[in-house]
C-alpha cells in the first residue's frame, strides 16, 4: 500500500478534527488574525486601484485640483477629445495604439529569442543553471533607469555605436553600398551618420531587453519539466532536430509560451523611461501621458486616472483573450 492512496484526503480531515484540540480563546485569536489579514490586503491592495477607478469619473477644476463627480468627460476626452463634437482628436487613442504596438512587438521579440535560450539552459547541469539564474535575476531586477542608461550610451549620437560606425568607416561603406538610404527610410540615419535616437527600433530593442530575463524566468519551469526522453524518442524515430522542435517541444510549451507573451505585454504597457528616452514625442504612449497628467505639467488627475483605467482594461482584455485562446486549445486539458 502506498501511503498516498490511503492518505490523500487527510489534511482536511485533521483540520476538521482540530477544533476539539483548541480552546475557544485560540479560535477567537485565529479569527482576529484572519480579520486583520483580510483588512490589510483589501485596504492596501484593492483600495488604491478602486480610488483610480472612482477618480477617473472626477472633474478637473481649471487652475486648481479636482473634485468628486460622476462624469464621463475624461473618457470622452480620451476617445474623441475634450471639445467634441465641435472638434475631435485621436491623440490619446494614438498613444494607446503606440503602447500596444511597442508592447506586442517587444514581447514577441523577447519570447522568440528567449525560447531557444531557455531550452538550451535547461539542458545544462543544475549548477550551471543556477549560475545563469543568478545572472538573469540580477539583470531582471536592475532598475529600468540603469538599463536605459546603458542603452543610451550605446545608442546616443555622440558616443557609442554611431561614433563607432563613423570611426571604423562603416558609415562610408553603408553609403557606398546604398544601405544608408534604406536606413534613412527607416529613420535610423540623419544626412551625415546613422542615428538610433529617437527611433522605434531603439525603443523596441530596449523594451525587449528589459523583459528578456523575465521571458527566460517565465519559460524556465515549463521547459525544465520537459522530459528529455520525449525528444530522444523522436530522434530515434528518425526526426531531425528541427522536426523535433516543431513536433515535440513547441506543442508541449505552447501554453506557457502564450502566457509568457501576455505577461510581458502587460508589463510593457507600463514602461515609461525607455519610451521617453528613445521614442519620438509623436510616438509616446499612454503610460507617458498618465505621468504628464498626474504629476507632470498638465496636472489633470482625473484624466490621468481615466487613462490608467483604460490601460488596466486593455491589460485585462488581453489576459482574458489569452485565457480564452488557451481554453479553446484541445491540449489545454
Amino acid at each position: 500500500m502506498t501511503a498516498t492512496d490511503d492518505t490523500a484526503a487527510w489534511p482536511r480531515e485533521t483540520a476538521a478534527a482540530a477544533p476539539g484540540t483548541k480552546g475557544p480563546r485560540a479560535g477567537r485569536s485565529a479569527l482576529a488574525v484572519q480579520v486583520v489579514l483580510w483588512a490589510t490586503v483589501l485596504v492596501f491592495c484593492l483600495v488604491p486601484l478602486f480610488l483610480v477607478l472612482v477618480i477617473s469619473f472626477g472633474h478637473k477644476i481649471e487652475g486648481a485640483g479636482w473634485e468628486w463627480a460622476l462624469t464621463l468627460e475624461n473618457y470622452q476626452r480620451f476617445f474623441v477629445g475634450a471639445n467634441w463634437p465641435a472638434e475631435s482628436t485621436s491623440l490619446y487613442l494614438g498613444q494607446l495604439y503606440w503602447s500596444m504596438r511597442y508592447a506586442v512587438v517587444a514581447a514577441l521579440l523577447a519570447v522568440v529569442t528567449a525560447l531557444p535560450f531557455t531550452y538550451l539552459m535547461t539542458r545544462q547541469s543544475r549548477r550551471a543553471q543556477a549560475v545563469w539564474l543568478v545572472f538573469l535575476l540580477a539583470t531582471l531586477s536592475l532598475s529600468e533607469v540603469f538599463i536605459v542608461m546603458g542603452w543610451d550610451i550605446i545608442l546616443s549620437n555622440n558616443s557609442g555605436l554611431p561614433m563607432l560606425f563613423a570611426a571604423t568607416g562603416l558609415t562610408d561603406w553603408l553609403k557606398d553600398t546604398g544601405w544608408f538610404d534604406v536606413l534613412r527610410d527607416w529613420g535610423l540615419a540623419n544626412p551625415r551618420n546613422v542615428k538610433f535616437k529617437p527611433s522605434e527600433v531603439a525603443t523596441v530593442l530596449t523594451l525587449s531587453y528589459l523583459v528578456w530575463p523575465y521571458a527566460v524566468i517565465l519559460l524556465y519551469p515549463a521547459l525544465s519539466r520537459l522530459d528529455p526522453s520525449l525528444a530522444e524518442a523522436a530522434r530515434t524515430m528518425g526526426a531531425r532536430p528541427w522536426t523535433v522542435a516543431r513536433t515535440v517541444i513547441l506543442p508541449s510549451v505552447r501554453l506557457p509560451l502564450i502566457g509568457t507573451t501576455l505577461l510581458l505585454f502587460v508589463f510593457l504597457l507600463g514602461a515609461y523611461v525607455a519610451i521617453t528616452v528613445f521614442a519620438d514625442p509623436s510616438q509616446h504612449t499612454t503610460a507617458v501621458s498618465v505621468y504628464e497628467h498626474v504629476r507632470g505639467s498638465t496636472l489633470n488627475a482625473p484624466f490621468g486616472a481615466a487613462q490608467s483605467v483604460i490601460l488596466l482594461v486593455t491589460a485585462t482584455a488581453f489576459l482574458v483573450l489569452g485565457q480564452w485562446l488557451t481554453r479553446k486549445s484541445p491540449r489545454a486539458a
Binding site: M1, A3, A9, W10, E13, A18, T21
Partner: protein, 359 residues
C-alpha cells in the same frame, strides 16, 4: 489483558469506506501485524490508532479508556513512518530527543536518554551526524529510537522496511522483533509483505477492502486460511473450482475426497485451495491421485517448483531439492492431493468461513 481495542472502527471518504467496521483487540506486549494488499485500509487504520485521523464511527480504547477523539500529540504512541520522516534540519541526537525536548525535559537529560536509545539500536557514535549522512538502515534505526524516546504505550510502524533493500530488510525484521520482545511493548506493524509479518508477528490480522479477513497466529493463518483471499495472499496456493457432490468435490472429471464430508449442498459451487508443498509427486497409491504432465521446472536451489498440466487444471507442486530428481520437462507423472491438505471455500456468494477455518 487487552491493551488497545478497536470497536467497529469505520473511516469513510464520501461513499467509499477505507476502513469498514473493524474490531481488533491488541494484547499487551504482543506484536500484531496488519497485513494486506495496497489500498486495503491498513495504513488508514494505523493512522486512526495514532490519532492522526479521526474515525467516522467506532471507538478506540486504551486500557479501558476511550481515546477515539484524543489528538495524536496527546497520545503517548511512538510511530515509525514509511519514509522514516526524520527531520533533516536536526542532528541524529536532536531527532531522537525531539519528543523529550518539546516536553521541556532538561537538555542534559535529553542528551543522556538519546544516547542510551542510540545504544539500544546500535548507533553509538552517530549522535552528531546529520540525517543526510546516514544509510537507509541507519535511518531506520534512528526512526525506531526516536519513536521509543517517549516510552510509548503503543509502538506503531507503518511499512517500516519498505525503504530498505531485500537483504537488510530480513536482518532488520529479526532485530526489530528481538528489540520488541526485550522491551515487551505492545506493537502494531503495517505491512504488505507476508514474510515480514510471519517473521515478526505474534499475531497477524489479514485485511482486504477495509475489512478483517482473518486474525490469528502466523501458523493458524498459513495452515488454516479462513477465506480464499487469505489462502491466496498468505503463501502460495493452487486454486481449483468445483462443485459439491455427496460430501466430495468434483473438479472437471475428477472426484476429490475430503478428510470428512463437506457441509455443502449437492451442486453448490466451491473453491479448493492446496499448498504447492502439500502436493506429492510420483505416488500413485494415495487418495486423490491424477496424472500430470510437467510443463516447466523452476529450480530455486533448496526447492524446485514443477508446473503441471493435470485434469484438475494447471497446478504447481513444490518439492525438496532431493525429491523427484529424475523428473524432467515433458514427463507424465502421478500426483496426489492429500485430503487433509485441501481447503474448501464457498464460491460465487459472499464468503463465510466454513467448518475448515481456524480452530
Amino acid at each position: 489483558m487487552c491493551a488497545l481495542a478497536l470497536k467497529d472502527i469505520r473511516k469513510a471518504y464520501g461513499d467509499a469506506r477505507a476502513v469498514d467496521d473493524v474490531s481488533i483487540d491488541f494484547p499487551q506486549g504482543e506484536l500484531t501485524a496488519l497485513l494486506g494488499p495496497s489500498g486495503c485500509g491498513k495504513t488508514t487504520l494505523l493512522r486512526m490508532i495514532a490519532g492522526l485521523e479521526v474515525p467516522t464511527a467506532g471507538t478506540i480504547t486504551l486500557g479501558g479508556r476511550d481515546i477515539t477523539r484524543l489528538p495524536a500529540h496527546s497520545r503517548k504512541f511512538g510511530m515509525v513512518f514509511q519514509s522514516f520522516a526524520l527531520f533533516p534540519h536536526l542532528s541524529v541526537r536532536e531527532n531522537v530527543g525531539y519528543a523529550l525536548t518539546i516536553a521541556g525535559t532538561p537538555r542534559a537529560e535529553v542528551m543522556a536518554r538519546a544516547d542510551k536509545l542510540l545504544d539500544l539500536v546500535q548507533l553509538q557514535g552517530f549522535a552528531d551526524r546529520r540525517i543526510g549522512q546516514l544509510s537507509g538502515g541507519q535511518r531506520q534505526r534512528v526512526a525506531i529510537a526516536r519513536a521509543l524516546a517517549q516510552e510509548p504505550e503503543v509502538f506503531l510502524l507503518d511499512e517500516p522496511m519498505s525503504a530498505l533493500d531485500a537483504k537488510l530488510r530480513e536482518e532488520m525484521q529479526v532485530e526489530l522483533r528481538l528489540l520488541q520482545q526485550r522491551l515487551g511493548i505492545t506493537t502494531i506493524v503495517v505491512t504488505h509483505d507476508q514474510r515480514e509479518a510471519m517473521t515478526m508477528a505474534d499475531r497477524i490480522v489479514v485485511m482486504s477492502k477495509g475489512k478483517v479477513e482473518q486474525s490469528g497466529s502466523p501458523q493458524q493463518i498459513y495452515q488454516w486460511p479462513a477465506t480464499g483471499f487469505v489462502a491466496g495472499f498468505i503463501g502460495r496456493a493452487n486454486f481449483m473450482e468445483g462443485l459439491a457432490e455427496n460430501g466430495k468435490i468434483r473438479v472437471g472429471d475428477v472426484l476429490l475426497t475430503l478428510p470428512k464430508p463437506a457441509n455443502f449442498l449437492n451442486g453448490a459451487p466451491v473453491q479448493l485451495a492446496c499448498r504447492p508443498e502439500a502436493i506429492r509427486l510420483g505416488t500413485s497409491e494415495a487418495a486423490n491421485t491424477v496424472k500430470g504432465t510437467i510443463t516447466f521446472v523452476r529450480d530455486l536451489g533448496p526447492v524446485r517448483d514443477f508446473h503441471l498440466d493435470t485434469p484438475l487444471g494447471k497446478l504447481v507442486a513444490e518439492q525438496g531439492a532431493d525429491q523427484g530428481r529424475n523428473l524432467k520437462l515433458g514427463d507424465t507423472v502421478p500426483l496426489s492431493l492429500p485430503p487433509e491438505a485441501l481447503r474448501i471455500y464457498p464460491r460465487g456468494i459472499a464468503e463465510s468461513p466454513m467448518g475448515m477455518a481456524a480452530e
